[in-house]
């Protein structure tokens, strides 16, 4: 088939012959037809795959410039899940073009942030000219954003912002795109007031939903939660299908201590889009904390169901479902869950720990104490070798220890959890309940007090010393605290903060800056997305830039 010369004309200088394309579609006829369509305008390096698993395999093994993916991929992951995994695992960068093919214009295409959205959508059926037009538009935009992306990928957010400003001044066509990207940079850098002003500026042009969502997020991050909630409720009235707004609304409610509101928002989000594993997980945790076991159970089991093969599923998800089932008194269901997920759990030490502890709980509740002991032995061995579960799971383990009369071990585990979560009332009260149930209320009060007071004291002393300007002694205090509580995000953030203050005053110290870096990484692991982390990252970056620290980044 030959296209009219108008379509073939290529004044933009895009070399389609060099473009490496990957087509993901579950329908063989469509795959080969798309190969022909792409060949029409010169794209001949084309790989065809049928599903997300094959796509990930191909992308791990070679680079692609352009991925054309159907949203509906039959069984298994859909196109959106594939995209989220690719971005999450850094398998594709901002330079890769990802286009989603959808059957209709009404699917859940309003996604949270730019990073979770594809570059564009094609509505089926589409013609070669339509595809070429859209692709060319994206390629030209990516060319214009080249400096922005390169600085972003090198973690040089300041320069990325400068590059955005240049686009805002000189490229009216990309003004709105550049503003959008800059807004995300400002939020990442913790410059929430500036982000708020930027989103207001976009809204003056037109109140597009993503700008209103950005505004609400900037308000929330400045703790202006009433204003954020009002904005979100209004956005949702006009665009009730905007699932990302429910996620943010849930965070806003939570920071106002409105746990019922937070759960309600997540439930609405789930009712529109049930496939997102992380939303189901969050709903499960929220409902569990609210004592709504039925909702928690449904959400956790949905997370496991929808997340089959998903990288967002960890052994903790199996543990979460079993915990709820046991709390409902449904031992049989917990056993079934363990049986169903046996292979996954046996494939990692964390999984083995979840399996051992949960089996231990099942046996304890069935009164089979000998079998519970056996499971506990296995768990103890894993823990001695350094394996840890999340705080909930470790408290479960302490509960089984307690039921088996292993009080010292139980106290040790509880102390460890408490040190690392000295300011988490939810976990501390769960620990207290375990002691109450075992009739050791007083012993529990003692364990918790001594575990938290040591860490709390060191932390407070460190902070006070730093406020007085004695950073050196503050670093020493907090270093001891870090040793005591190596997974405590607040301690980690404070320790990093004090080190950066010290270097600011006394000059560069290679060992200390490396410590600050690893503290921040640990804080991010324990409390992903914590509002303080981005600000600390910015300070770290600033110190590194001033002292000319060369860092090599992965990729």
């Amino acid at each position: 088939m030959s296209l009219p010369s108008f379509i073939k004309s290529n004044a933009t200088g895009i070399d389609y012959a060099a473009l490496r394309a990957l087509v993901v579609d579950d329908y063989p006829g469509i795959r080969s037809a798309l190969r022909l369509t792409l060949a029409n305008f010169g794209v001949t390096k084309v790989q065809l795959v049928a599903n997300a698993a094959e796509a990930i395999f191909q992308i791990r093994n070679k680079s692609f410039d352009f991925i054309l993916c159907d949203f509906n991929l039959g069984d298994g992951r859909d196109g959106q899940q594939l995209l989220e995994e690719l971005r999450h695992s850094n398998l594709i960068t901002l330079e890769t073009v990802f286009m989603m093919v959808t059957a209709e214009s009404f699917y859940e295409k309003v996604v949270a942030t730019a990073e979770l959205a594809p570059d564009d959508y094609m509505i089926k059926p589409f013609s070669a000219e339509m595809l070429r037009g859209r692709l060319e538009g994206i390629l030209l935009r990516k060319r214009a954003f080249k400096a922005v992306y390169q600085n972003f990928l090198a973690h040089d957010l300041e320069s990325a912002m400068t590059a955005c400003d240049a686009l805002i001044r000189n490229e009216p066509k990309y003004l709105v795109d550049a503003l959008r990207f800059k807004g995300e940079l400002l939020v990442t850098l913790g410059r929430f007031e500036e982000a708020e002003a930027l989103y207001q500026q976009v809204i003056t042009l037109r109140a597009v939903p993503w700008a209103r969502l950005g505004l609400a997020r900037s308000l929330h991050l400045q703790k202006k939660d009433e204003a954020a909630e009002a904005e979100l409720r209004d956005v949702l009235e006009k665009s009730p299908e905007m699932v990302a707004a429910y996620d943010l609304l849930s965070d806003v409610c939570l920071s106002k201590n409105d746990t019922a509101g937070a759960q309600g928002a997540l439930e609405q989000g789930v009712s529109i889009s049930s496939k997102t594993v992380r939303r189901q997980q969050k709903l499960g945790e929220m409902a569990h904390a609210n004592g709504d076991l039925e909702t928690a159970r449904t959400a956790f089991s949905n997370a496991l169901d929808k997340g089959r093969h998903s990288i967002f599923i960890t052994p903790a998800d199996v543990g979460n479902l079993c915990r709820v089932q046991l709390e409902q008194g449904d031992r049989e269901a917990a056993e079934t869950t363990l049986k169903k997920n046996k292979n996954t759990l046996q494939s990692s030490p964390e999984g083995k720990l979840v399996a051992a502890v949960t089996h231990g709980m099942v046996h304890t509740r069935a009164g089979k104490l000998q079998e519970a002991e056996k499971m506990l032995d296995a768990a103890t061995e894993l823990r001695a070798a350094g394996t840890r579960g999340d705080a909930q799971m470790m408290l479960d383990m302490a509960g089984v220890c307690m039921a088996s009369g292993r009080f010292d071990e139980a106290d040790g585990i509880v102390a460890e959890v408490a040190k690392n979560a000295h300011d988490s009332e939810a976990l501390l009260s769960k620990a207290r309940r375990i002691y109450e149930e075992a009739g050791r209320t007083e012993a529990g009060t003692g364990v918790l007090a001594s575990a938290t007071s040591g860490v709390r004291k060191l932390n407070n002393e460190g902070v006070v010393l730093a406020q007085r300007g004695d950073f050196k002694t503050a670093i020493e205090k907090l270093a001891i605290a870090c040793n005591e509580a190596p997974f405590n995000p607040r301690i980690m953030m404070n320790a990093a903060w004090v080190i950066l203050k010290y270097i600011d005053q006394a000059g560069m110290d290679d060992t200390l800056i490396a410590t600050a870096r690893s503290h921040l990484a640990e804080a991010e692991r324990q409390a992903p997305g914590h509002a303080r982390i981005s600000g600390l990252r910015l300070q770290l970056k600033d110190v590194e830039t001033r002292y000319g620290v060369q860092r090599t980044h992965p990729q």
Binding site: P4, I7, I30, A33, S105, P172, V176, P209
Partner: protein
């Protein structure tokens, strides 16, 4: 076994879209022979296929938007890119049988706020109509009219029949099939675009042929 109508419907639509996509790509791949009997048959199949695509999209719009207003997804898009894409599609559908021109007024801004998918749907429907009725050429235009973006399709046909002009001008729902139905969707799409208390409009008139115009505030 329970029967989930919604899932079944979704699966059917998925299949239908795939088949229709394949059909359209297959027709697009039939080479021209320079033999009128063959080429005209291929041309009409292509136009008919595009019509089925249009109708299916409209059917989905009705299904989703039943008893509620169309909710456009407004964002910033380049009117230049839109006109380029529409021209490319029109040239392809015309296959050299008709002349296709496109023109952007010099004061068109670099971006405008609209729902690109809905506007493309309405404009391709208009282009398709013009291609079916034009004598020799059609023209796609973008300009600024009353501070709105005006997107037009002009042809050199005999023009719209009076009852259609009257229906659209008075906002009367028309239950006719074919042309009338497509226009009614275009009107709904235009009206779903609003900005600062101004609402989008569909305007039709005859000026040496039919002139279809969407006004987006």
């Amino acid at each position: 076994m329970t029967f989930d109508g919604t899932d079944f419907y979704a699966a059917l639509i998925h299949e239908l879209k795939n088949s229709l996509g394949l059909l359209s790509m297959t027709i697009d791949s039939i080479p021209m022979r320079g033999d009128a009997v063959h080429d005209e048959a291929v041309d009409s199949s292509r136009l008919l296929c595009q019509e089925v695509v249009d109708r299916l999209q409209q059917a989905l719009l009705v299904y989703k938007a039943a008893n509620q207003p169309i909710r456009p997804r407004i964002d910033a898009y380049s009117p230049h890119d839109l006109i380029d894409a529409l021209k490319a599609r029109a040239v392809f559908l015309a296959r050299g049988r008709l002349h296709v021109e496109a023109e952007l007024a010099s004061d068109i801004p670099a971006f405008w706020f609209f729902d690109r998918d809905l506007i493309e749907m309405a404009m391709i429907n208009a282009i398709q109509n013009s291609l079916a009725h034009a004598r020799s050429s059609i023209r796609i235009e973008a300009s600024l009219v009353e501070a709105s973006l005006a997107l037009s399709v002009r042809d050199d046909s005999a023009g719209y029949p009076p009852h259609i002009l009257a229906n659209v001008a008075t906002n009367t729902p028309c239950h006719a099939s074919g042309t009338g139905l497509g226009l009614q969707f275009s009107r709904l799409i235009a009206q779903s675009h609003d900005n600062k208390n101004r609402t989008g409009e569909l305007r039709l008139h005859n000026d040496q042929g039919a002139v279809f115009c969407l006004l987006l505030p």
